[in-house]
């Protein structure tokens, strides 16, 4: 027996070592197997870390909660799939968005302004270099926008209203508009990562859109170091332009991002001080957050986190009886959101305002309109509204029927395995039934749900895909976008048609974003339509999930603290405080 032990141990070790060191995947030959580039090897160190062996703990930041699969590519043009850090750490945008001050802050741009109603001029910073040493110029910006003209590009829509993006000189970009879209343009300014012309102009369209882009060359403060199926590692770049231009320096030398493990593993890693930040929803986190555990949240008490997006109950407005605004209003009134907030989430989320606008946009809520047309949870009111609208329980089962007497039976779908949403859905179903509306919660698999949602083959669905942004325009675009296509992939899943509302949304986009009063005027009209029609019912605000450990790094963003940036590395959130967080951290000396 002892012999076997002695024999097996080295064998196992050798086997594991081969597993970890071998590139894992033999690179496949033949273009068909690997669209737009060669297959990504599982582990491909671009260069060895400065010293062999381990990253020093007090120079490394470990985070998780943004990636659910292995790092697929480092291509900023592949919006939905690129690895965390591709945009934000390696590639950068012209501006960042400060969610506290609610304004754009210049980043690669030194400044930007409208010179007339249809011309926007960006002045770039000088001294910015790509990490291969080449200078960053206005040509790169113009080139990047040119890539948007490729069919199937994630930002092809900008060319519906852009006329031209030109490099006037090395530091100046002039953007000409066919139609000025002020809100969308502001949004665009901190979303679009700029890529280097000298490396990208040779790529074919497919490679640009979906290529792997190994060894990404960007202007950012970090360089890609290595990745494996469960992690991606970046190393700080010591010649980053921001050190002098912005007087900022990210503190962690190594940035290790871990593909989201189970909550149990994440919490275990937290307790062992092996993890510094988790950006996924971890149920029950508020139970252990606090001084004793060293686990930090933005607020020390409920709601613990800032709000990131609104969860909406989207009714399919093409189906009976959901095509009736009065019915939708009764449904909205019947939903027991307080129970969801309290029981399902333990108050780590907040109930949404009737308009659904995030707390960050509170100023845009027209209280007069809300007072007149808003709704709050009240089962009795919901019953009365149903009765008033002509929905009666004709067969005596306690549930109302359609006006023509046919049965109402609505299915609310949430993706299987999204346990908080599944539970919320059953609360909604129960409370709707109490008011007399037959709603059943169902949990199809995610892809099946997507198909149903996008094709309009559903009754009710919960969705939260629009994030906090520079302008509430993004929310009204989400609610009212026309035309309704055969497949609705990103907005207006409820297929609500209202030309007047869409005209107003476009009108909102035509108001300069520094004209807050002008925006409010349009928004107030949109809110009146929204509350009258309820094409989507706001439920609660999901948090900017950000659970940080004070074990190794401290000075995380906090309400009223010196650092107010939300610590979150989701897509586009590096530009909304995630990157700034890195510059604010301090090592915990003790």
């Amino acid at each position: 027996m002892r012999n076997s032990w002695r024999l097996l141990t080295p064998l196992v070790a050798a086997g594991l070592a081969v597993a970890a060191c071998s590139s894992g995947g033999t690179p496949q030959t033949g273009g068909q197997a690997s669209p737009g580039g060669s297959a990504p090897p599982a582990t491909q160190p671009a260069q060895q870390p400065a010293q062999a062996g381990e990253f020093p703990r007090n120079e490394t930041l470990y985070s998780t909660g943004t990636m659910w699969g292995p790092p697929a590519n480092f291509n900023p043009m592949d919006e939905g799939n690129h690895a965390t850090g591709t945009v934000g750490l390696v590639y950068e945008t012209l501006f960042h968005f400060d969610t506290n001050a609610k304004k754009l802050t210049p980043w690669l741009a030194e400044s930007g302004s409208w010179t007339d109603d249809k011309t926007y001029v960006v002045k770039l910073r000088s001294g910015v270099t790509w990490n291969d040493g080449k200078p960053f110029t206005a040509k790169d910006v113009a080139f990047t926008y040119g890539l948007g003209k490729i069919k199937g590009s994630a930002f092809a829509h900008v060319w519906d209203w852009l006329e031209a993006v030109e490099a006037t000189d090395d530091q100046t970009v002039t953007v000409k508009f066919k139609t000025a879209k002020y809100s969308q343009w502001d949004f665009e300014l901190y979303q679009r990562a700029i890529v280097p012309q000298h490396l990208w102009e040779g790529k074919d369209d497919k490679d640009v859109l979906t290529g792997m882009n190994e060894n990404p060359v960007g202007t950012g403060a970090y360089k890609y170091l290595s990745h494996a199926d469960d992690r991606v590692v970046y190393q700080r770049r010591d010649d980053w332009w921001g050190k002098t231009a912005l007087n900022m320096e990210p503190k962690p030398k190594y940035f290790v991002h871990i593909v989201t493990p189970s909550n149990e593993v994440a919490l275990g890693l937290f307790m062992q001080k092996q993890l510094d930040l988790a950006n996924n929803y971890i149920p029950g986190m508020n139970r252990i957050a606090g001084e004793a555990s060293g686990i930090h949240t933005y607020y020390p008490q409920a709601p613990y986190n800032l709000s990131a997006n609104t969860a909406w109950l989207v009714p399919n407005t093409t189906k009976k009886p959901l095509n009736d605004a009065a019915f939708r209003k009764a449904l909205a009134t019947s939903v027991d959101v307080p129970s969801i907030v309290k029981n399902v989430y333990g108050e780590v989320v907040q109930a949404a305002s009737p308009t659904g606008l995030l707390p960050g946009w509170k100023d845009f809520d027209d209280q007069a309109v809300i007072g007149e047309k808003g709704f709050t949870f009240n089962t009795d009111n919901a019953k009365k509204m149903l009765a008033d609208a002509g929905y009666k329980d004709t067969d005596g089962d306690g549930l109302v029927e359609n006006k023509d007497g046919s049965k109402i039976s609505l299915k609310l779908i949430t993706p299987a395995g999204w346990s908080d949403w599944n539970q919320s859905a059953s609360v909604i179903a129960t409370s709707a039934k109490a008011a007399g509306i037959d709603v059943t919660a169902e949990t199809p698999d995610f892809p099946a749900l997507l198909e149903a949602r996008n094709a309009g083959k559903f009754d009710l669905v919960i969705n939260n895909e629009r994030q906090l942004s520079v302008s509430p325009w993004t929310y009204y675009d989400y609610l009212f976008r026309q035309p309704v296509n055969e497949v609705q992939n990103t907005v207006n899943f409820g297929r609500y048609e209202n030309k007047q509302a869409w005209d107003l949304v476009q009108q909102l986009d035509a108001v300069k974003t520094d004209d807050v009063e002008g925006m409010k005027k349009v928004i107030s009209q949109l809110q009146a339509i929204h509350l009258d029609e309820l094409p989507a019912i706001p439920l609660w605000y999901n948090g900017v999930w950000s659970q940080a450990s004070n074990g190794v790094w401290k000075n995380w963003g906090a309400d009223g603290g010196a650092n107010k940036y939300p610590a979150v590395f989701w897509r586009h959130w590096f530009e909304m405080g995630g990157f700034e967080t890195l510059t604010q951290l301090q090592t915990n000396g003790s």
């Binding site: 149990e264 971890i282 029950g284 029981n343 299987a416 346990s419 539970q423």
Partner: protein
């Protein structure tokens, strides 16, 4: 499930018919008595527990969140304020259901295939054995994942059925071997000479002579079905409706019960499965000793 192999290959000596005084030995066999008592205890929990639990769904938010065990909530509450005792008793009840139904399906299919193959021999045996071996070699978890992904298992009986349909080859193989050795015995020949049909001979002559063996087989299938169900539940392939011990484990794990200090959520379902299945194995060995004098304690 691991204890199965010991019975699959044993020669027919145990099938020479149970001794008539087995009851005498049964009540004196410690293993059998202890095992049976534990099983009965859980049976009582499963049958009567739900009467003590709160009415309504076991998933209702009935209490404060994360309450440790108390006089009001005997097993405490979950992260969401659900009553763990209620989930537990329904979970135990459903464990028996999965065991009975899953083990039952496996036993029935296994018996049909095993008896037929063993008694008829020839090409019937060839074909049935081939099928048996194919199903046996296919890793059952993988098949269940596929079947589940394909059809979707929504209810606990459906889950039990699928488990039964992948577990039967164990039984079939063992029963075939036993039948094979019995079919040339005198009493079977006699029955055949008197003109009895295949079904009748199997039912009247062969099955009774290996009844003890069949009982033990069923017990092992029962335990195996519970363990398999728990594994399936844990990787998210459990029923979407209903409560089970495996689902409790999965929910507790997904919601990080241990790191959050909610041990009362994570420990009971696992402990119950261990105790119940362990008791079955112990009782099984006890039975074996009762039926086989050679095995009895010194």
């Amino acid at each position: 499930m691991t204890a199965l192999q010991e019975i699959t290959t044993r020669e027919a000596e145990s099938a020479s018919g149970p001794s008539r005084d087995w009851l005498h030995f049964a009540v004196r066999n410690k293993k059998l008595v202890i095992g049976t008592l534990i099983i009965l205890l859980f049976l009582c929990i499963g049958v009567f527990g739900p009467l003590l639990a709160r009415s309504g769904s076991a998933y209702d938010f009935v209490g404060p969140r994360m309450e440790p065990p108390s006089s009001e909530f005997w097993f405490g509450t979950t992260l969401f304020g659900q009553d763990i005792f209620a989930q537990f008793v329904y979970g135990v009840r459903n464990a028996f259901m999965v065991g009975l139904f899953g083990g039952g399906v496996a036993a029935i299919v296994g018996m049909v295939v095993g008896f037929l193959a063993g008694y008829r021999g020839g090409w019937v045996d060839e074909v049935l054995s081939m099928i048996t071996n194919v199903v046996l070699v296919l890793p059952s978890l993988a098949v269940l994942i596929v079947v589940n992904a394909y059809l979707g298992i929504r209810s606990i009986p459906a889950q039990a059925l699928f488990i039964g349909l992948t577990m039967w080859p164990w039984a079939a193989r063992a029963i075939r071997a036993q039948t094979f050795s019995l079919r040339s015995r005198d009493f079977v020949d006699l029955a055949r000479l008197s003109g009895s049909g295949t079904g009748r001979i199997i039912a009247r002559e062969i099955a009774p002579n290996m009844s003890s063996y069949l009982v033990m087989m069923f017990i092992l299938m029962f335990g195996g079905a519970i363990l398999t169900a728990a594994s399936l539940d844990f990787i998210g392939l459990g029923p979407t409706e209903g409560v089970s011990l495996g689902l409790m484990l999965q929910h507790a794990s997904v919601n990080s019960a241990l790191p959050l200090g909610l041990w009362w959520w994570f420990v009971p379902p696992g402990a119950a499965i261990t105790a119940l299945v362990g008791a079955m194995y112990v009782a099984n060995v006890g039975l074996d000793e009762v039926f086989n004098p050679k095995l009895r304690e010194m």
